[in-house]
């Protein structure tokens, strides 16, 4: 079935067409969410929400953009909302830790010390990259993530973000420059 046929069939309540939509796009959507939230289970949960949202609002899809772009857009919005809500939770849990002397933290430090130096450094580097990407301005973060991790073209990113191709280029360029600056600073401090 083509994308147009899938959409038409889902609008008529055909669940088989919906299954095809999910099977066809699940890997792409799960990985988009993963590239934003960096957690496997969270990414799966968000991807599930993306498809449920797509099913419930399929009537709003007018076919002006590609179906995959529409799904990407939902996935990006859901992921960004998740990060926003997660930040709030993190702030609250860090406040909890301030007033709570639970032994979990010391246990964690002991566990970490068992790791080899090399894997620790590797994990540290990945964490630094994730942290730096998350600190980028929202539009730059979306454009860079879709370009770097999802390997979308500038044109595809422009469609997902509803901006021009040249604007996409500018956003990615700025994001890379900022990222480069911050990473070099981190490496020099190590």
């Amino acid at each position: 079935m083509t994308d147009q046929q899938i959409v038409r069939e889902i609008k008529h309540g055909n669940e088989e067409a919906f299954r095809e939509l999910v099977e066809k796009n699940q890997e792409m959507i799960i990985n988009v969410c993963y590239s934003f939230v960096h957690d496997r289970e969270d990414a799966m949960d968000i991807a599930q929400e993306v498809f449920i949202k797509a099913y419930n609002s399929i009537d709003k899809f007018q076919g002006k953009s590609k179906l995959s772009s529409w799904l990407y857009r939902i996935a990006v919005n859901k992921s960004l909302n998740f990060i926003r809500d997660h930040k709030r939770k993190n702030i609250l849990s860090s406040l909890d830790l301030l007033f709570d002397n639970s032994p979990d933290i010391s246990d964690k430090i002991e566990d970490d010390s068992e790791n080899t130096e090399e894997s620790f450094e590797n994990e540290e580097m990945k964490a630094a990259l994730k942290k730096t990407i998350n600190e980028l301005p929202k539009k730059q973060k979306v454009a860079l993530t879709l370009n770097k991790f999802e390997e979308l073209s500038y044109k595809e990113i422009a469609e997902v973000m509803d901006i021009s191709v040249s604007e996409t280029g500018v956003l990615i360029n700025r994001a890379k420059k900022q990222l480069q600056k911050k990473l070099i600073k981190t490496f020099k401090n190590q």
Binding site: E15, R19, V22, E23, Q26, E27, I30, N31, Y34, S35, R40, A43, M44, A47, Q48, E49, F51, I52, Y55, N56, N122, M125, K126, A128, L129, K130, K148, F149, K176, K177, L179, Q180, L183, I184, F187
Partner: protein, 164 residues
């Protein structure tokens, strides 16, 4: 090329987005500068590490989505609940308001008719009293015209004396 300039272009160099001249310049610098080469290795490691992690196709993912959809449907409020507030609430307000007005009007009409009844009663009572008084000569003065005239003359004389 200076180290600073290399640092500013390192990520673009790794992604192969620089012109051939600039690429060659950076390559030559990296061959000579130990510090920049270390930085380049670290940067490449970090930059490529993110690409390695990808979640493969999940065979039971659709079941999960279908289950989620089912749960969502179960959570959806019934039509009555959904439209209750929008339609039912104003309808109830109107009915109560209408009922109030109706009861008010009915009560008002009741008071009016009672007033009419009591008015009639009063007038009939006066008639009875007057008839009774007539029959028993209580208001006999009205009948004795001469006495009444004398009485009024007497009263006017008294007034004249007082004036003087």
């Amino acid at each position: 090329m200076k180290c600073n300039k290399v640092h500013k272009n390192l990520l673009f160099y790794i992604d192969g987005e620089l012109s051939s001249d600039k690429t060659e310049e950076i390559y030559n610098h990296l061959m000579q500068c130990n510090e920049c080469r270390k930085l380049y290795k670290k940067m490449t490691g970090v930059w490529n590490s993110a690409e390695e992690e990808r979640i493969p196709y999940q065979p039971f993912f659709y079941t999960r989505v279908a289950q989620g959809l089912e749960n969502n449907r179960a959570k959806e409020p019934s039509v009555l609940k959904k439209y209750g507030k929008i339609i039912l609430q104003p309808a109830i307000y109107f009915i109560v308001l209408g009922l109030g007005i109706f009861i008010g009007v009915q009560l008002g009409q009741g008071v009016q008719s009672q007033q009419q009844v009591s008015g009639n009663e009063i007038s009939s009572r006066q008639e009875i009293i007057e008839a009774y008084a007539d029959s028993n000569y209580i208001n006999g003065m009205q009948l004795e015209a001469l006495e009444a005239e004398m009485l009024t003359q007497e009263q006017s004389n008294e007034k004249g004396e007082n004036n003087e």
